[in-house]
Symmetry: C2
Subunit: 415 residues, 2 copies
Amino acid sequence: MALIVHKYGGTSMGSTERIKNVARRVAKWHDAGYQVIVVPSAMSGETNRLIGMAKEISPQPDPRELDMLASTGEQVSVALLAMALHSVGKEAVSYAGWQVAIKTDSAFTKARIQSIDDTKVKADLDAGRVVIITGFQGVDDGGNIATLGRGGSDTSAVAIAVAMKAQECLIYTDVDGVYTTDPRVVSDARRLNTVTFEEMLEMASLGSKVLQIRSVEFAGNYRMPTRVLSSLTDPMIPLEVEVNSGTLISFEEDTHMEQAAITGIAFNRDEAKITVLGVPDKPGIAYQILGPVADANIEVDMIIQNQSVDGKTDFTFTVPRGDYAKAMDTLELHVKSHIGGSITGDAKVSKVSVVGVGMRSHVGIASQMFRTLSEEGINILMISTSEIKISVLIDEKYMELAVRALHKAFGLENA
Amino acid sequence: MALIVHKYGGTSMGSTERIKNVARRVAKWHDAGYQVIVVPSAMSGETNRLIGMAKEISPQPDPRELDMLASTGEQVSVALLAMALHSVGKEAVSYAGWQVAIKTDSAFTKARIQSIDDTKVKADLDAGRVVIITGFQGVDDGGNIATLGRGGSDTSAVAIAVAMKAQECLIYTDVDGVYTTDPRVVSDARRLNTVTFEEMLEMASLGSKVLQIRSVEFAGNYRMPTRVLSSLTDPMIPLEVEVNSGTLISFEEDTHMEQAAITGIAFNRDEAKITVLGVPDKPGIAYQILGPVADANIEVDMIIQNQSVDGKTDFTFTVPRGDYAKAMDTLELHVKSHIGGSITGDAKVSKVSVVGVGMRSHVGIASQMFRTLSEEGINILMISTSEIKISVLIDEKYMELAVRALHKAFGLENA
């Protein structure tokens, strides 16, 4: 009998009514002969409520205690979902992470799953029960609860699917799949039936925040077919429709053989750019500049170092806009006293990327991208490339225009 | 170093501000050189909120899942209290019942504690940490969370105090001790410095709902000195004042040697009385009448069977007023078809009791009680007695009058 893992997000679990709908959907799969494991998130708002109380007590709560606290949100969800399944006539049992031995390391609030014991769950499934397991959490060697960090329920679901050798992991969420770009920006953006694991990584990290990126990495490492689909449809839609809805993250190299070179246009509005001008061009200079930024826990994305002139060079990088002021403060002091040179920055820039594994075998993608932007009069501030994506940094005010123009130029509105 | 267990009720844990006060109070004890274990209840309202969601999903939720759900309330409390202790500079660690192996049977929603492993807690205490343990819950042999039922945190606290060989178990609550009677009825009711275990059992079961009765039984079985005291005082009042505040439940037989025969007047307003008239006086008749009542889950309290006349007798008993209609319905049918006789009842009666271990060695307590009621013109409907209490059933409208008259007659306003 095929085993399937369902993961439901906080919105899908947001009220007792919605939990009943989740139960109906799960029961439908079970009725069709599937063994089902369900991994629900905390009810929407619950994790924020808990963390809010913690912050009222202490500005910097102890991570172990924060995990003890936050993990209760998912425990509430699994118990309520088990009751909802009982009331639609299904045998079901809920488990907290520690009860099925989801072992993690001890990095509280950002733990990683190390192993899952399948004994208990297998016995329940074989006895015809739906098994419901808390997402987001496990237990370390010392018997302490450790959470995986925000969005960790996606990772839990994929890890459980891998450990239990599931046929597919279904991530039910409030969007109906992965699109060629954000439909709020491009009205004829098209839902993708499949994306490759690598494309999904680029799409996710570039702003299409559908799945927690660690869950995609996990799925990729273990080649677990993972589908993103909507939990907002009628729970009783026919199974044969639901099975093929959403977007499948695939690990088959040939999925895209007949498809277009480009899969989608990703973007991130909230970038900021910092340039250190006239720094001495000598070994170790990148580390000297970026070291203090990393120490301040600021993530650096694109990095460019120009050809040097007269032993001096310019060094430019981007940071999330929210960290711009902090990064500038950190650098001002450091550059003046240790490196020399001056600093300039721009907090109103955005990143636009074309993504696609097909790019590997198609020449001319970059030139078509640059020509399209040029025809729209959009100046490119920075460029960075990888095997399957090309990103450009542009003035924030041109972002929507760039996304729309590129979406059209690469013909993404046609299937 | 003396070990002390603190238990805080839901009101004391009712907000982040109050939790900070609990932390200040616990820190004061720790500063004074005590090792401290804290057992907090769920924040007030939280258990009801959780059970409410369960009832929205299913009118009769599965008990195992109900425990999985309800146990999260205490887990939230222990984590927040640990954070609050950290912010007043104390090392503290929180544990759910399963983490310190509070083993219970599998009677979900009304489990009983079987054993507690002291290894982990002892190591923490010896390392100078305050240890915070969830009340109300443990884990069964199958690794399932089981709760002890409403008020179970009192029982957890006493059981932990016993297992850890604590010097005293302090139950912090929103009253400042056990009184000679309810101060809302008798304005000069006096707080008792000590009550014996047996008196506390009678006072608790008769309506002075200060402590869960099972916790008193537990304390009695293991002779654990247990003190009820107020959590509403300033947390920074001097320790020497706090140490002797509240009411100590004592297990020393001689505590009362010099004291009055009577400790207090307990009462329960909401009683109802049912009489089956003219039933055949033959063996098994009590069981035949009360069997169906017990099967309907109705608790029977006082029971009287009159001397029979001509082979017929009258049989009278009391039930909680809320169960009166149900009990009458149950009996109507049953008595008519199986026993013979007629039924009459009164749903406006109350029970008043005088309680005191001193009663054992003092004659004339009963006659003084009956004379006092007679002088007030109060008719006695039923009488029942035990070693340390005499209870009478009277018309509801005389209840306050009876309590006040008895309180005065036995001189309870004087220390």
